[in-house]
Symmetry: C2
Subunit: 427 residues, 2 copies
């Protein structure tokens, strides 16, 4: 560790704590400005509950912000799993790119310090909470589908070749190739570890022992997941968030904010859409574990399914609308001179959106599976204290994911996906 | 033009001619060495017959080499179509990467001068000729399929995620993103211009006027080509040559050398395989135009079809053999811990090779179409003096390409492709 500390000092990095952070703030004009130069009486609180980083809320009489610092390892595992702190640089890039495209749903960046791997950004004040916690608590967010479809349609469309020239696209792709270590983490924990015996895999044992083994022995599933993994590794379709689960979204009744894009890179759009939809399905299957005599959660389950349906359908509608608005723009994928008739444009869009739908279902299902038999689980299930009940919920989610993943090319609409969920839920 | 010359001087670039090249050689130790330091009596001959660059053969009493210099425009069009001379850098990188992987079929690089966009490489002495010219002359090359399958299997396998870790892959992908201008040229001339009214398009008129129009009005074809274009722009599957037609191959009876990889980048493997196969099919359909009373070319046509069949089948066999040899290596796509049974490996390989076959047919067909109704045609047809006869040959090639492209997913073996060719040829 001494060697590490010395190396850290040499590259200008030092891990902060609540005390040294205040000194850092006082020495940093961009942060002083955010506090209205009122530097007395600052409150600093470490709140990082994610898997990777340290997060501080800083509030003072004249302003507030959040400081996020990446350390050169994975926080929830410790120094034994090193992880480049350069991820903060890519998180900042993605926050700025996506923030420019969708300012209503991405917090503003105030300051970035690359040697310190430190980002200062807007503090999302209470009553903002992590969406996952809201879903566990059974809270309905009336604008969720509207906002998330807006975020996904805008960030994905405007960073794809439907809008980009290939010149700007390849330049951006090259830059984000630098975030390879975070991509490799996803490759391992989403596409590889759940399908083999791996050190950090765990599940609700002994209940799901057979289910986990069945995943490792399912040849068709493994072939399909390998196809998705290749797409993740090879296909630079758009600048994706890369970790768009319900823990990366903060919500109130009328605000939806997407945070933590440190896994961002140019990858397949379906990975983002699927992450969000797949985590909604996990939330759905966890509800029976949160039901009690006051609330059977049946109405809430219907609301989650409604969100699933609306999110995809609104995404579809908004994405195609952006495409129509920009059909004669500088996007290189479908030139207006070639796709020169409305019926031909329609045909092209139908094929594109169908492929994207199937990709989204596949990636979403893969993200569900890894949350049940892989290293990192979700609070939706983990907070169900009764292990037998938890396993019951998890098994249904797992069965649903396997079916969706293998049969994804058959689905023509989100309502067909919902039918599968309802069918498994009624067993 | 004066402004251009001044800018050129500032970045260290000056276009050479036969005279100034000799001075350059005398001042360059690496080149002097290749000539055994015997600098008197050098013969310099400009031989560039390609579309883009200047090429000089330099021979002296103590040695020889070829000098290739890229100028900041496309040679066959002129200064009105500017093109980055940085392409020489990517050509050098690809010659070195592919040369390391397949030294028997790639000429050695002796010297590279980045400011001058100049590569010195092995002179492929007579009787080496451009394969396309050999095919027009009706010459059989007994080792062609053996050599080309070797080149393609080795260069593609070892630069894919079947061999690469994603760490080395993304690093290499990022580097070759810099060759975007050459990619854009391909996007335009292969995937866009043939499907719209475009300045430089031409065809054997008036015979093929209706055929060219039919290409521009074929909705299904346009949708399929757009899918291939997206794959070309988004999918970093392996380091491909990028222009692997029969004009990029030099041959003798026992030597096969692949030259001119200035279009190289990380793209879909099928683009290389398809380019070679597609250009063999063009050669096939051109034979009737080269038949005369002494030689009806029927035996030669059968030989071309045999090459087509053997090239794919040997490629398939060698590629899978390399995969088997490296199954427990560091390639990230199919981990040995997951694909842990011979029958599962077989299943994965079958799916991978089937997809690759379909991609290759699609790209090959797209390359055929663009040679008939796009900007750059092939000598196979251009050398048929009788325009009506030429159009007859071209129309058959075009009909074949359209059928292959649209129906490619139905084909299970190269012999089925050959049946289509024979059927159209027998009309």
């Amino acid at each position: 560790m001494e060697v590490m500390a010395a190396a850290a000092a040499a590259d200008g990095f030092r891990p902060l704590d609540e005390e040294s952070l205040v000194e850092y703030i006082k020495a940093t004009p961009a942060l002083r400005v955010q506090l209205g130069e009122q530097l007395e009486g600052l409150a600093v609180k470490e709140v990082g509950d994610g898997n990777l980083n340290f997060v501080y809320i800083v509030t003072g009489p004249g302003g507030s912000f959040v400081i996020k610092q990446a350390l050169p390892y994975i926080r929830c595992i410790g120094t034994s799993w090193p992880m480049t702190k350069e991820r903060a640089y890519f998180e900042m890039l993605a926050l700025k790119d996506h923030g420019r495209l969708c300012p209503n749903h991405v917090p503003e960046v105030y300051h970035f310090d690359r040697p310190m791997s430190l980002i200062a950004m807007r503090y999302l004040k209470p009553p903002h909470i992590i969406l996952r916690k809201g879903l566990i608590a059974g809270i309905e967010y009336p604008l969720l589908a509207q906002h998330m479809s807006d975020y996904m349609a805008r960030t994905l469309f405007f960073t794809s070749l439907l809008y980009h020239s290939t010149l700007e696209h390849r330049k951006a792709v090259a830059e984000f190739c630098g975030n390879v270590e975070l991509c490799r983490l996803t490759e391992q924990v989403v596409f590889s570890d759940p399908y083999k015996v791996a050190q950090y895999n765990h599940w609700t044992s002994p209940y799901l022992d057979h289910d986990a083994e069945a995943v490792r022995d399912d040849d068709i599933l493994k072939i399909e997941v390998a196809g998705l993994k290749s797409m993740f590794c090879e296909r630079a379709q758009a600048l994706i968030h890369g970790d768009l689960h319900t823990g990366s979204v903060m919500v109130t009744n009328d605000s939806t904010q997407v945070i933590d894009p440190e896994f961002a890179f140019y990858g397949p759009m379906g990975f983002d859409i699927g992450a969000f939809l797949g985590n909604l399905i996990l939330a759905f299957f966890s509800q029976d574990g949160h039901a009690n005599k006051d609330n059977d959660r049946e109405a809430y389950k219907r609301w989650i399914l409604k969100m699933l349906e609306e999110t995809w359908n609104l995404f579809h509608q908004k994405f195609v609308a952006l495409w129509n608005e920009n059909f004669d723009g500088h996007g290189d994928a479908y030139l207006a001179d070639i796709f020169n008739k409305p019926e031909l444009q329609l045909l092209a869009q139908k094929k594109y959106m169908t492929d994207l739908f199937h990709d989204s279902i596949g990636f979403g299902a893969a993200k569900m599976i890894r949350r049940i038999v892989g290293v990192a689980h979700v609070e939706d299930f983990e907070s169900i204290a009764d292990e037998s009940q938890r396993a019951f919920c998890e098994r249904r989610a797992l069965d649903c994911a396997k079916k969706l993943l293998k049969e994804r090319r058959k689905f023509e609409s989100i309502s067909q996906v919902i039918s599968v969920i309802e069918e498994i839920s009624a067993r």
